[in-house]
Symmetry: C2
Subunit: 479 residues, 2 copies
Amino acid sequence: MAERSDFVREITPPDQDYSQWYQDVVTKADLADYGPVKGFIVIKPAGYAIWENIQAGLDRRFKATGHVNAYFPLLIPESLLVKEADHVAGFTPEVAWVTHGGQETLSERLAIRPTSEVMVGEMYGKWVHSYRDLPILINQWNNVVRWEKVTRPFLRGTEFLWQEGHTAHASGEEAMEETLRMLSVYHEFLATELAIPSRMGRKSESEKFAGAEITYSVEAMMGDNRALQAGTSHYFANRFAQAYGISFLDQDGTEKAAFTTSWGMSTRVIGALIMVHGDARGLVLPPRVAPTQVVVVPIGANASAEVAEAARRLAKELSSGLRVHLDDRPEFTPGWKFNEWEMRGVPVRLELGPRDLAAGQVVAVRRDTGEKQPLPMAGLAGQVAALLERIQGDLLERATRRLAEHTHAVGDWAAALPILSERQGWVEAGWCGSEACEMQVKAQSGATLRNLPLEQSAPATCLVCGAKAQYMALWGRAY
Amino acid sequence: MAERSDFVREITPPDQDYSQWYQDVVTKADLADYGPVKGFIVIKPAGYAIWENIQAGLDRRFKATGHVNAYFPLLIPESLLVKEADHVAGFTPEVAWVTHGGQETLSERLAIRPTSEVMVGEMYGKWVHSYRDLPILINQWNNVVRWEKVTRPFLRGTEFLWQEGHTAHASGEEAMEETLRMLSVYHEFLATELAIPSRMGRKSESEKFAGAEITYSVEAMMGDNRALQAGTSHYFANRFAQAYGISFLDQDGTEKAAFTTSWGMSTRVIGALIMVHGDARGLVLPPRVAPTQVVVVPIGANASAEVAEAARRLAKELSSGLRVHLDDRPEFTPGWKFNEWEMRGVPVRLELGPRDLAAGQVVAVRRDTGEKQPLPMAGLAGQVAALLERIQGDLLERATRRLAEHTHAVGDWAAALPILSERQGWVEAGWCGSEACEMQVKAQSGATLRNLPLEQSAPATCLVCGAKAQYMALWGRAY
């Protein structure tokens, strides 16, 4: 019988080397593996099942807000890519190029999509003729490739999976409404499903998406206090419409360029999940996206036939409404199993031994707090469901408190510098709006302007130059 | 008010030019559009919604048979691709090659996956060490690229979407069981969800998948009597395991190569759906995969407020269990709407006019037969659900009868030739097993050996050479 009670030893303590801790969790919790080409990961079943739950949660919200799914081609001709100048300048350095198809050398090289504004713009240009054709509200689930120099599983990959929504509208107001609506959808989704609080705001000019008029983001705080941009929503005004000919005959009889948006969230949020909730023992998954919500472990050195049978019955009963796994492998001790499922982040463990059985109860153990409590077998499904709800709520509450505690309203640079350079948290402070001040923060502290929060308190003076501030800005080191 | 009562005029009659009819239906029913690169289509929302239903139906079955999903990288190094000789010989002619990433020229070119046996083989080689690691039962949903010369929307694309299952087992028996299990899953799925009957069987040596020991297929009959290979399931024995090092220490203490399988079904089946059920008026969708199952159309030259309100209420009521669309656009006549929804293949139309309202009924019209029947408003949801079930069953029955009627048990070549060359149907006949006879059929009639049906009646003599037959074989022209 295998006995290796301390899986934790295999995981580097997060306070010793956070980056190594992250990679250990990814590997030990079996979420992903490294593929043969640098920067390309295999998302293993345990990781992909989380992604499936994320997809379901987002897709439901997209459909509820009137969107439909479609699929656009993987390869984009170079001549098409170059039509929007800012966009091509931003993306060309990281494009993978196809130059040969079968035995033939292509007359024009083709980019593997780094994102699909160009392809979608070209097609919408064909599809839109009249105001009656608008709005178009399409999302697509796909893979994209960006030739990144430094990669990390989930956080930054040469290939990643995501959804990209692309919409076209008759007016700028409507497109802006859409842009902000989808930003809110991301914000609400992160909180409700992933128990991740985030700050919605506008990106500075230097940080916005290549080709966008305005980019909004949701920024989440990781366990090492760094920021992670978890989703973005872009307002393009009619930049792409002009570049790709998306124009329509309006009700007033004049030809107009449409207004477009795009918005995306990727497998990167799996990295956020790990870093927001994970701990020294491994992964901690919020119940709503946990592929397995409850693991049932029969205990006793040799679990008796009676206990084994009761555990089976229990697991089956709970399976009608919850995602349950029964771990009755004879070759592992209960202690080994406890550690393994903790490492894999399963929110609730139910232990069942002979004495529990006699007492008509099970022992429920919370992954997030380690708290143990006996639960009566009678009405167990309801109790466990309530416990999962409580865990989901507690995770969000804890992360929300943490975000607030590590966001420092600091007015002067001397106080802000150590917070940012030593990664004690984020700084929320006035900004004059000049790129010079923005660059100075980066040069001195390594922090970037995360966003200009939608909720703006009255700003006083610029954190850097002391001049009158235009905005309140959120600064932090970022992934 | 737009009045263009005959959409059908826009669709080429199928008996005049079947291929053009197909392309018209794809375009007019808004299923797909042509992208800027030859062979790459955009799957539009109406087409993609069918694919989502297909995915759901398949994914449920894969999970019920113990499989989990994962995601493997898009790009495969050339050095990896070449390890299995037959496989690389089969696929190299149609591979798209990435030679540049960002500003750098790659030291080794990378293939966009045409299929993932190679990538999966490489990873399974890393993951499998002991018999305890087996079986691995993984599926993935993704896009693949094959540089095809002649392309047709859904039927043959340079890029297409599909699922590819990849499993590894400790024994050949178990791998063969899996291969046949998944073949059966495809067969049952096609019948139950798409109302498409198919013939399961084994491919000949010349038609099997590059690198496979044995390939099985499900073959369906299209409206022009041509065959379409709707899904394949491959048994690799330990060919890939040997090439990619998938070996394990067995219980008996010896090191063994694993046995692997793969199986796939693609967006091609959307083409099959169109051709099996479609007619001169356009698409006919089986209710189970129809994105819209019921369209409610209020009628009367100017639908009164009362009728409009009743239609809204009705649509809302039915929406609780069915996929319902209310078409209350004021700018189109009911006749226009009828034609449009027929073209788009919606299984049931419910018409509601002032007289119907007074009589407490609606008129239900079946897309497949055109049959009209009044249905009482009271208990309508149940009646409509039953009607949809009936349509689903009738579609399968009709297609099954058609397949049987156009499969000819013919013993001699003189009788078989006109059937095959004039595309009157398939021929089921004895085959000696020689490639020479197989090639002769192809050369003379254009037909190929579709498969050797799993249900084998006792064969007599070879259709071609008259020698003693080894198998009963199914011959037909194919897509």
